[in-house]
């Protein structure tokens, strides 16, 4: 119990990623959908940081910074889009935009 290996952290990252994926597929609120993508980002970030630590270099930490940048950009754009969509239909239901299926 006192010793930890890379696998422990990878398992936590995998579990967080899968939970975020399930939430993305099941929830119908647009805001929660984007919250679930942030959850998936968390799992990826834990993976990268643990690889950085167990390999003794800083590449993983550098990539987590890029993940944070993309997450911030995605959050601002996505929430702007959500506000726009909410103004047009008055609902946050993702099914209100069914005609957008490609």
């Amino acid at each position: 119990m006192s010793q930890l290996a890379l696998q422990h952290y990878l398992a936590v990252g995998a579990i967080l990623f899968s939970i975020g994926l399930i939430g993305f597929m099941t929830r119908r609120n647009l805001i929660i959908l984007f919250l679930c993508t942030e959850l998936m980002f968390q799992g990826v970030a834990i993976n990268l940081i643990s690889f950085a630590h167990f390999h003794g270099n800083l590449a993983g930490q550098a990539f987590v910074i890029f993940v944070l940048v993309i997450a911030a950009a995605e959050a601002s754009l996505a929430l702007g889009l959500v506000v726009l969509l909410f103004r047009q239909r008055g609902t946050l239901n993702a099914d209100a935009w069914r005609e957008l299926k490609g």
């Binding site: 919250l35 754009l77 506000v83």
Partner: protein, 308 residues
Amino acid sequence: MTGLLLPETLPAFVASFHVLGVAPVLAPTIILVLCAIAGIGTVLLLPSKREGATRAVGGVILLTAGLIFAALLVRAGAEFIQAPGTGMGVYFWIFSAIAVVSAVRVITHPRPVYSALYFVLTVFASAGLFVLLWAEFMAVALVLIYAGAILVTYVFVIMLASQAAVTTDKTGALAGLADYDTTSREPVAAAAVGFALMGLLLFVVFDRAQTVDPVPATPALQGTVQDLGHYFFQYHLISFELAGLILTISMVGAIVISRRRVATATGLLTDDVQPDVVHAPATPIEDNPHSIPVQGTENPRQKAYPET
């Protein structure tokens, strides 16, 4: 150019993957069974029209699966650690339990504000894990950016967009919530796919044939801001500048996307937009002296506040 961007340790990193040819630490059947049990629990726990008791049963099932998995990991832990890993195992278990439980609550709580707050809890627990991995700067950055900036934006948008949401008049725990918050889309299929992915990932992680040789880290060099800055400007200079560019572009894009175009009091539009683009549901307050009639809508009673 690519040679410049790659760290010098990459060949050693690639060479550190080696095949041992022994059985995986956790048997695939155990992982599969646990994932199936957790999937059933998640289906019961996801927002739906069921009563609270059924959801509580789902929570208990999910919690049991998680505890069994953790216990198996603890028991098998001594076997697959060849080199001394990091210490502080107790904190790892606490932080990861908080992270996973609150992540489950994020996707199962019917109220969006609570989901966002549970996500903050996940972020704090992840920051704790980062500190255990000697990544203090990343932990601070995570708390500042996620819990400080992104989540505040989320909560703000939830407040903004949930005001006029059509609610079904219910009593009990789901009172005042919109229909799309209290029901899930295809919970069984989504849980099956998600937990199949989780089982596969866990199988690969604990497959001893793919074990990565742990390189003992030097904690004194790890995670200090100075080293990270050196690393950035040595190997990722262009990417670093591009990241700033992406942030700027997304900020401009967010403003352009969510800008509301309203008519002015004199009947002229504020800029060169055509009247047919004004179809925002404006604030329907008739007797507010500051409200302005919106042009281009079919409802003549629609009015808006002047915004720039």
